[in-house]
């Protein structure tokens, strides 16, 4: 468990996507898009400071024992299609729920030749289990942000996501 005790408190992920900032923004914030990549959660955002964020599990994940709402949070900043900051609390079991809210920032920058840069910064103070899940370090819990962003890029660039 030596690596777990050193769990990073901030994780930074970056990916270049051949898509407009607006398309990336929609893919992050609109449920019809969030159901098509990554963990296929159904996102609900009130895109204003103080607004709610909820990530709901698909019926398939709920059938596997996941709660209906897997992640909740509060929107801190929403500046479409460039910057979104919200708190993030996992709810899939009591242990992670007790770790309390963490904070995620999405930054989208328009680059050259129709390629945009998406940076996800997740601040994870005092949330080691949440951090391990997001880093893809928990067996059977998927690949975390790297998996989600790889799949998002594939979906936006090819119209298809990775095989489940």
């Amino acid at each position: 468990m030596t690596t777990m005790t050193e769990t990073k408190t901030t994780q930074v992920y970056q990916v270049f996507i051949r898509a407009t900032p607006q398309a990336i923004w929609d893919a992050i914030t609109k449920p019809e898009w969030t159901q098509r990549y990554g963990y296929r959660s159904i996102a609900e955002y009130e895109l204003r400071p103080g607004g709610i964020y909820r990530g709901k599990a698909t019926p398939e994940f709920q059938a596997m024992g996941m709660p209906e709402v897997v992640v909740d949070g509060e929107v801190i900043e929403a500046d479409p299609p460039r910057r979104l900051v919200h708190s993030w609390r996992f709810l899939w079991d009591e242990e992670v729920k007790a770790e309390g809210p963490t904070r995620v920032t999405f930054e989208i920058a328009e680059g050259q030749a129709g390629v945009s840069k998406l940076t996800v910064t997740h601040e994870l103070e005092n949330a080691p289990t949440t951090a391990a899940q997001l880093a893809g370090e928990i067996d059977g819990a998927g690949g975390g942000w790297a998996f989600v962003l790889s799949d998002l890029k594939t979906l936006l660039e090819t119209g298809e996501s990775l095989p489940g």
């Binding site: 690596t3 050193e6 990073k8 408190t9 901030t10 994780q11 930074v12 992920y13 970056q14 990916v15 270049f16 051949r18 940076t119 910064t121 880093a135 893809g136 690949g143 942000w145 790297a146 998996f147 962003l149 790889s150 799949d151 890029k153 594939t154 990775l162 095989p163």
Partner: protein, 107 residues
């Protein structure tokens, strides 16, 4: 994008750069000074390697006050993984990797 893949493979084709990534994997958000202290190399040499890793997207930097912190960005490696290793070969490969780890006693 092939150019990006080329940059990632080239960046990984160097033991010093793989060592830097391993250090950042163990704990990231490190400064150049911290990373430099673990290598028998000039500050300039370490900077050059970090630049190659940054150009390949494997390292992302953030400013915090006066410090520049280096973070491991696993997404390009994940993209190569998703592109080159489908879920069937992955199982076979991981079985071979476990066998190798076990035989070499590094588990």
């Amino acid at each position: 994008m092939t150019d990006d893949d080329d940059r990632v493979f080239k960046a990984l084709a160097d033991s010093t750069r793989r060592f830097l990534l391993d250090r950042l994997f163990a704990r990231d958000g490190r400064t150049l000074t911290e990373l430099e202290s673990e290598l028998e190399m000039t500050r300039f040499g370490v900077m050059k390697h970090l630049r190659v890793l940054e150009d390949a997207g494997l390292v992302v930097t953030r400013r915090q006050g006066r410090e520049k912190l280096h973070y491991l960005n696993p997404v390009p490696i994940r993209l190569i993984h998703d592109r080159w290793i489908d879920k069937y070969t992955e199982r076979r490969v991981s079985a071979l990797v476990s066998l190798k780890t076990e035989l070499e006693g590094t588990a």
